[in-house]
Amino acid sequence: MTLKHVGKSYTRNDGVEKTTGSAKYVADMKFPGMLHAKVLRSPYAHAIIKSIDTTEALKLPGVFVVLTGKDVPGPFGVAVADQYPLAKYKVRYAGEPVAAVVAVNERVAKEALKHIKVEYEPLPFVIHPKDAVADGAPILHEDLMNYNVAPYVYPQGKNIYQHFKVRKGDIEEGFEKADLVVEGETWYPYIHHVQLEPHCAVAQYNLDGTMTMYSTTQAPFVVQNCINMLHDIPLSKIQVIVPYIGGGFGGKSDVTIEPLVSCLAKAVPGRFVRLLLTREEMFIGTNLGRGAYCKYKIGLSKEGKILAMQGESYLGSGGNVDYAVNIVTGMGLAGTGPYEVPNLKLDVYGVYTNTPPIGALRGYGHPEVHFPVERLLEKAARKLGMDPVEFRLKNLLAEGKVNGIGQVVKHDTGNVVLCAEKVAKELYKSPKPNKGDNILVGRGMAAYMKTPCMPTNVQSSVFLKLNADGSVTLATGAIEMGQGTYTVLAQMTAEALDIPYEKVNVTNTVDTLISPYEWQTVASHTTWGTGNAIILAAENLKAKLKESAAKVFNTDAENIKIEGDKVVYNDKVLTWGDLALGYKNPDGSALTEPIMGEGHFVAKGVQNPDPETGQGNAAADWTQGCIGIELGIDKTTGEVHLYRLINYIDAGTIVNPQMARDQVLGAITMVISSALTETLVFSEDTGKIRNNNLVDYKIVGIEDMPEEILIDFVQTPEESGPYGAKGIGEHGTVGTAPAILNAIYDATGIDFYELPVTAEKIMMALEGGE
């Protein structure tokens, strides 16, 4: 099949809006009578709330309401019902909302916060997941074992709310046969998404029982569900509207500020209430990412085959766990990296910690576990005296091999071997460059794989509205947050209908009352899931065109042909436009109905993993790849300069190469940042995040980027994907940190197992002569 639109680098269909300042974001919107909210947050990471006095705050002119824990419903939570929109009885992280003010403007609301008196009894707190599972650790949720949890959640008590197991083969026998065993521990610190756009939600509740909310969410339908659960409002009356959002990266998925804003709106019926977070609140009062401590042990034969792997991982998950449960799953499903491991034992624990909740962050559990795997395999290759490339090729999940959860790698699973070969060839094509006496040059690589961790029956629906001029409007519930979704979906629509790309327009606002259902825009699954729905909708639209034309020509639908924008029967011709709103007889009476294509896709055959072994068809698909890094380290400063970045990824058919390349680069860039500079620093006294601004929490800038970048594709069409496509948005995050650390080792002989590897740490290690 030759493709006309899929595979072309069309320019983004939101480009004009986004470069002229006309693209609208939630914080750009104003509503008549809009009130403003501010949140009082806990200064302690763990404390009992002894009393709250709001009397003085309420007296301030311009203050409408002040809410505290006693005024809000809960507990809620899809996986574990362990949180409230405002803390009740105790706080579990510094930054947790304790009270909220609604006032005539932000200034008054802020002033009112100063007049709320809260008495706390501070408790011992715990930040690192390793400490949270130690004997005598402070317990965050005393009543955990009595909480309502989803069927796939297995709380263990103490601070452990989830235990995910993967078992395959015979682990003891595997280690017995091993000639070499390597072990190590890694720590991927807590980091923040740093979306440039702060979270914002504006909501209005009406006494007729309807709720409207504009929000910067990746998950309007999840927010809708949450409001339904909290306030018992029928789903049909909950309108969550999402325009463009200024970066998500998972940090705006599931629910964040929306439960609280819904409560505030409920307290002042008829008025819009807006909550816009400050940059500081972004750090202390929204979801964080990573926070993974892993302890791995790998056994190998002297020929360089992996015989056994044992991993124990702990995901620090914050004061309430929300969806961190599913990150734990991701760490299990991908816990071997893209390597064949015949004997496997993985235990992943989800652990409460006194940090803001850990939620989705681009990569979703996969970078966390690729870190120990790729670092330890590098170490193993070295100890065996083998070339690290050759060693990897021996063990990678080639076609026919079996992955950690028992799935046989099929042709369309993707070709990680080819990706690795191509990266290696490019990375090592010439000797290391000489950058002078002060610069140590190193090279390293890491292979990776990632699956979307989704509900087993994840749904995507779309409508294709045929307009009277023959143009088509695609209605989708998918969010545009930078990833170029609407362009890619328009390309697939044009392909499926065989019409010019220019004839397709995509709705750029999602509205849960009228948009077709879409689970949420996460997991790099929109191209795959929504794309599949588009193909179904296009078939549906074309069938309706044929049926209508058959009535007009008085024949059977199978005799009708669609040729371009014409509907043809022998020598008789109609345009799509003639049929769009229904065909009229010469006497003016209507003959046929208006035409809209519907497509409803649901993933089939994906199962929950077995609770005891983690085995099963639990991953819908895998995107795989390999990354190589060449860098230099300044011996006098410890600074790292990235020279070359090479990445090959097999994400099936690439719908838009230019945009796909930029997605991969964007993802890699985030992890260059977390590998070299980013980490949240918690105060030892209070447990509050100290570097809660963009100066002290440094993300990479233009000057930190690699000099040469090669990002290319291996395109093995994915059977379950539209036109063979599958996810690509997150995957650049997965192997980047270990690739950089492997290169740092190559340059300096120093092994790092904790991120970030800052210039100071490198200097210290160099001076220490390690």
């Binding site: 480009g15 470069t19 300042g21 440039l196 970066g247 940059r279 963009l694 233009i702």
Partner: protein
Amino acid sequence: MKHSIKIRINGQWYLGDVETGMTLLQFIRDEAGLTGTKAGCENGECGACTVLMDGKPVRSCIILAVEADGSEILTVEGLREGDKLHPLQQSFIETGAAQCGFCTPGMLIAGKALLDKNSNPSKEEIMEALGGHLCRCTGYKSISKSVEIAIDKIK
């Protein structure tokens, strides 16, 4: 205390009675209703709010509206001439340099400030001009490339 000020934005005068503490960014977004300029940190750290003030790039979140009284401001909305997009806008679209679009207005203005004073900047000069402007989406390469393409377009 309120101050009566007037600021010319994109060629149009906007009058306002503003509190001392109001920032230029707030004046642009809330008083003039020009929401193209974005607030990423309101603390001078991200560059999203950059506008030209009397021809120079400034972070409008750390300038008071009263300080800008009488000045000439250019925001992202003022870049195009009528229906014709500025070469930088065209090149940003061509390369896909606007992903989520939130840093974009600041990047465009920084690029414009550079090209106004130097019609043929080197790669280093481009990097310097965009330094300190944070983007979490793109990895920056498409943005610097857009500025390079715009140089040729302007020639």
